[in-house]
């Protein structure tokens, strides 16, 4: 198994290399460059401590810069060139994208996904979190609803093929239809427009657990006094939930919502495995994969469009993080 061997060697070199790097670079700094002895001992210690953070940070900053910062710029420049990397087309790729029917369909579908999936997952997650809160078997229920988080998008798509299959002896939906007296099976993935929603259900199914876990913790963090006061004032369970609890965890709901929105913009697996982008179900990430390996200019242009959509969330995240640090 040469590949396995290669893997083991990589682990050894990777881990060993990292440890060696951190150990010896620190040693070098303390003993050779700025030794903590002689007449300049104090000054040297200070200098060493100024350099040290960068020793610790270097590998992480290096890979982050290379794989995540550089591509933002690299992709943008690449998107200004055509299929041939030497042929400068300016914003031509973007213009032809906007003119293309497929792009508009995937943009619109992506827009639907970005609204429906976070809304659905947050709603079901909130419901599950609230309902299981005081239940004796609540933890078991939660762990079962959380389980799809561990399943790959490809695996989840296959699981749902057994629900959507165009055959009353395989697909659950058609079996239910058949038992209600409809004789002809339907392929729900080919119903124009609505097939998008059947694909979204898969992602909602996966992400509900995530929303539930976080919202459940937030619900538990609500101060007891506010709830007790509301009950004493005669609030019924509905009022208690919607007027007392939900407003107090609104910040967490927003975090969950945006996290899922970001995820939606990255997931191409479900569309790729379920419909291959046919029947009007294309979304931006899967549309990009149509051009990957064929037309880098077009592919990077689509990637950059996704980046532009994410940008407001990114800025908002940074602003929030800076606020918290103060």
């Amino acid at each position: 198994m040469p590949v396995i061997l290669q893997g083991i060697i990589t682990i050894l070199i990777g881990v060993g290399g990292c440890v060696a790097y951190f150990y010896f670079s620190n040693l070098l700094l303390d003993k050779v460059i700025f030794p903590a002895k002689g007449e300049k001992a104090g000054q040297n210690i200070n200098r060493a401590n100024q350099v040290r953070p960068w020793l610790f940070l270097f590998p992480a900053v290096f890979v982050l810069g290379l794989y995540l910062v550089y591509p933002v710029i690299g992709s943008f420049f690449r998107s200004l060139y055509g299929r041939n990397p030497d042929e400068f087309v300016g914003l031509g790729n973007y213009a032809s994208l906007i003119a293309s029917e497929d792009f508009r369909i995937s943009f619109f579908n992506n827009f639907l996904w970005a609204i429906v999936v976070p809304a659905g997952a947050t709603f079901f997650g909130l419901m599950a979190a609230q309902l299981t809160d005081k239940l004796s078997w609540g933890n078991l229920a939660k762990s079962l609803i959380f389980m799809p988080m561990a399943i790959s998008f490809v695996g989840a798509s296959l699981i749902w093929k057994f629900v959507y299959a165009n055959d009353a002896d395989i697909g659950l939906i058609n079996a239910i239809r058949a038992s209600l007296g409809f004789t002809d099976p339907v392929d729900v993935l080919q119903i124009p427009f609505w097939n998008n929603f059947f694909l979204m259900i898969i992602l909602i199914w996966i992400q509900t657990g995530f929303a539930m876990v976080i919202l459940s913790a937030a619900l538990r963090g609500i101060p007891e006094e506010t709830i007790e006061a509301a009950i004493l004032d005669g609030a019924n369970p509905w009022q208690l939930f919607f007027q007392i609890k939900v407003p107090q965890i609104m910040a967490t709901i927003v975090v969950v919502w945006t996290t899922i929105t970001i995820l939606v913009l990255k997931v191409f697996d479900i569309v790729y495995t379920m419909t291959g982008g046919n029947f009007g179900t294309e979304i931006l990430p899967s549309y990009m994969m149509d051009f990957m390996f064929r037309d880098d200019g077009r592919a990077t242009a689509i990637a950059f469009v996704i980046m532009l959509i994410v940008l407001p969330v990114m800025i908002w995240n940074i602003v929030q993080a800076r606020k918290e640090m103060r």
Binding site: L64, S143, A150, D167, I214, I262
Partner: protein, 383 residues
């Protein structure tokens, strides 16, 4: 809220029932896959997985025996249709009661079992419920028996055949190994790098720290689609190309923002006294990190490694772009999405089994390490 403002037992019941419904709704699709993976191929297409415990009516075909005994001016063939090897092959679990039979593939259940079918030209055929038949013909049937189609109940048949085929054929075993090969280095290496960086961002004072943290937070949401084309081109220029080496680098980098962010959030919360007293005692930052911070941060390290493991194991996009698309280096997700779904779209047993094999490892990790996973999620999103 159940017992405080008056007893609301009906509401409690409603809660129990709605949670039960929700759990069932969430579980049923996975159960379907699981059950299907153990079913015989013919049974999968003959009845839904929810009918798996029940007998299935399968349509099979066989031939009567070729040995005819003359009876007056007629030739009579008798025997049991289940003695025919071809008919047997449909019922590995043993055949049940014959319901109907016929002689034409177009209408395999033309006659009810036990009735005498008039086949024309003076030929008659009777197949009884227990499989015995009597075929009467005015001519010697010759060396080949009469073709018989019949429908019979097949008892539920659970087998491991699908697993055997998935794990031994189609290079799925190779894909399984490849997935591990991608996943393990891509999980271990980023942790170490991120832990050092997180320590620096949490406990070391230097100009630019705030900016760096903000950058990491910003990078958390950068769509990795952006990195695909430029990094693949760079890999090609550096001579790494599409290879395991390349995908290890890529996964290491793509997991880095979350790793640094999670670990830093955790390390910031460690008690200041311990760290300061260690410094007073003369520990260098390196010793402090290895001896104190690292052991104390184990829960966060575990949480991140579970994330990264699940993410790299389940990934399709990065594997499609950074790994070559030959059988020797395909991972399971690519194998399923590109090979099985394409060429064997109709073989539900194999599909279900392959999917189950690919999700079994993450599910195992999930159920054993759930505690850490939840803690990690919370550290990442709520403070």
């Amino acid at each position: 809220m159940d017992n405080i403002a008056g007893q609301k037992s009906s509401l409690t019941w409603a809660t129990h029932i709605s949670v039960l419904l929700l759990v069932l709704l969430w579980l049923i699709p996975t159960i379907g896959l699981f059950v299907s993976s153990f079913r015989d191929r013919d049974q999968i297409s003959a009845s839904g997985w929810w009918n798996a415990p029940f007998a299935v009516e399968l349509t099979a075909r066989g031939r009567t025996s070729a040995e005819a005994t003359p009876d007056g001016d007629m030739f009579v063939v008798t025997g049991n249709i289940y003695d025919d090897p071809e008919a047997q092959s449909y019922f590995p679990g043993g055949g049940g009661e014959v319901v109907a039979f016929g002689t034409r593939g177009a209408n395999p259940t033309e006659f009810d079992a036990g009735t005498e079918a008039d086949l024309g030209d003076g030929e008659t055929l009777t197949v009884n419920a227990d499989g015995t038949y009597r075929y009467v013909s005015p001519e010697d049937p010759g060396s080949r028996g009469q073709r018989v189609y019949f429908a019979a109940a097949s008892p539920p048949n659970f087998t491991l055949d699908n697993y055997e085929q998935v794990l031994t054929a189609d290079n799925m075993d190779q894909a399984f190994i490849n997935t591990f090969t991608v996943t393990i280095p891509a999980t271990i290496i980023p942790i170490l790098i991120a832990a050092f960086a997180a320590y620096a961002l949490a406990w070391m004072d230097f100009p630019g720290r705030g900016v760096l943290i903000a950058v990491v937070v910003g990078l958390l949401v950068v769509p990795l689609q952006l990195a695909l084309v430029p990094m693949l081109n760079l890999h090609n220029k550096l001579g790494i190309g599409q290879s395991f080496m390349g995908i290890w680098f890529a996964h290491t980098a793509f997991g880095m923002p979350l790793a640094v962010y999670l670990l830093r959030n955790y390390m910031v919360g460690l008690p200041r006294d311990i760290i300061e007293s260690a410094k007073v005692d003369g520990a260098t930052d390196f010793e402090l990190f290895v001896r104190i911070i690292l052991p104390l941060s184990l829960p966060a390290l575990a949480a991140f490694s579970i994330f990264q493991f699940l993410w790299t194991w389940n990934d399709l996009l990065v594997a499609k772009v950074f790994l070559p698309s030959d059988d020797a280096s395909k991972v399971m997700t690519v194998k399923i999405a590109d090979d099985l779904l394409g060429s064997r779209g109709g073989d539900w047993g194999i599909l279900a089994t392959a999917a189950f094999v690919s999700i079994a490892v993450p599910l195992l990790v999930f159920f054993t390490m759930q505690r850490f996973l939840v803690r990690g999620l919370l550290a990442g999103s709520v403070k």
